[in-house]
Amino acid sequence: MACKSFGVQTDIESMFLAHVGGHSRVVNTVYGLGEEDTRVTLDGGLAQGANSSPALFIFATTPAYRYADENLPGYYMLCAHSQPPRGDLRSYCVGLLNYADDDAGLNGRAATTQEEVRRILNETNFVAEALTMSLAVVGVCTNHAKSLLLYSPSAQKLILFPALWLTTLNAEEVLMREKGLTVTSTTDTSGMTHNPESSSAQYLGAWFDWGAPKGGDAWAKQTTKIWAVTTRYGDDVSRILPSFRLTCMTASSIMYQQMKTMFTIVPPDHSTL
């Protein structure tokens, strides 16, 4: 479908299909290597582990993303990093984001009434459903139970239980309309008791908890953990005194990997540095 929508010539399209198709798999287990006569030839799909598979997946699903992105109003912010041209502030919009087979969509603006918030929710739901249905056309299945809806504390004040309805192919390749999973921030803005089992920190980690750092304790807990990692690293280095540059670099890299997301989300202060 992607080849046709991009006007790829039929001979090149058939070369593509010959390249990506016809793979067969042999399963090796701890009990022994799989025999070639037990191999299974795949009817479709891209080769697992092939370099080109993510790129071809993006190529095949581009029409679906384009359609969904055009319908998503998105979230506008003033651009703080660039110099404003002719004295006016430039704004930029964050809408649909994609990383291979992972998708995120953001939508929002100032809203003071329940109707306005519900309108934003409906726009978001429409685009999410448009995306899952367009992906279903090219055969991509979506897991309802692992598809999440998150919302800001301001929206949480006005709508208590928003739902994300998705029409999509489920794991059995049956077209179904079911609810996704709504996760709340750890901030208890509504006065109701917060349920830690449906917390966004539970599913996405502390740094994507929308309520923190004001109300929730997810960031505080995670920062304490990071401090413990850093202190332990300092103690280990001063105790062992490694003389190899490679050892030091490796240890620092491992520590950085654990702190990277925090640095992306919260710029480190002087004491952290």
Partner: protein
């Protein structure tokens, strides 16, 4: 390796580029990679020659697609100049902005099932 030794590999490489890969090249070995004592992640190992040629194919395809604007602008994975840090920063900026300005905002995250097997 000498040119004589490389000649058979050149033949296979040209066949793959022409879209006529030999069947044996497309045989995938699935091996378990233990996550812990109970769970294992299946990892697919492909033929080394296929992977090298496939890498060259991917580079050409993504460069052409980027040059002619055929890929979505906000796609960050497995493309030249792509990184997972950009989308993380975008999401974090929106969350921070909505918190500060008290704006109503929603975010959805979709989880595709066996994405590469279904396309």
């Amino acid at each position: 390796m000498s040119d004589q030794q490389l000649l058979p590999i050149l033949t296979i490489t040209n066949l793959i580029f022409a879209g006529e890969s030999p069947e044996i090249i497309k045989l995938e070995d699935i091996v378990p990679l233990m996550k812990d004592l109970k769970l294992a992640r299946p990892v697919t190992c492909l033929d080394a020659i296929f992977k090298i040629v496939d890498r060259a194919d991917r580079t050409k395809l993504t460069l052409v697609c980027q040059e002619y604007g055929l890929l979505p602008a906000k796609s960050f994975g497995f493309i030249p100049g792509g990184s997972c840090e950009w989308p993380i920063e975008c999401v974090a900026s929106v969350q921070q902005h909505a918190r500060q300005e008290d704006n109503a905002a929603f975010m959805f995250l979709l989880d595709a099932t066996s994405a590469y097997d279904t396309v």
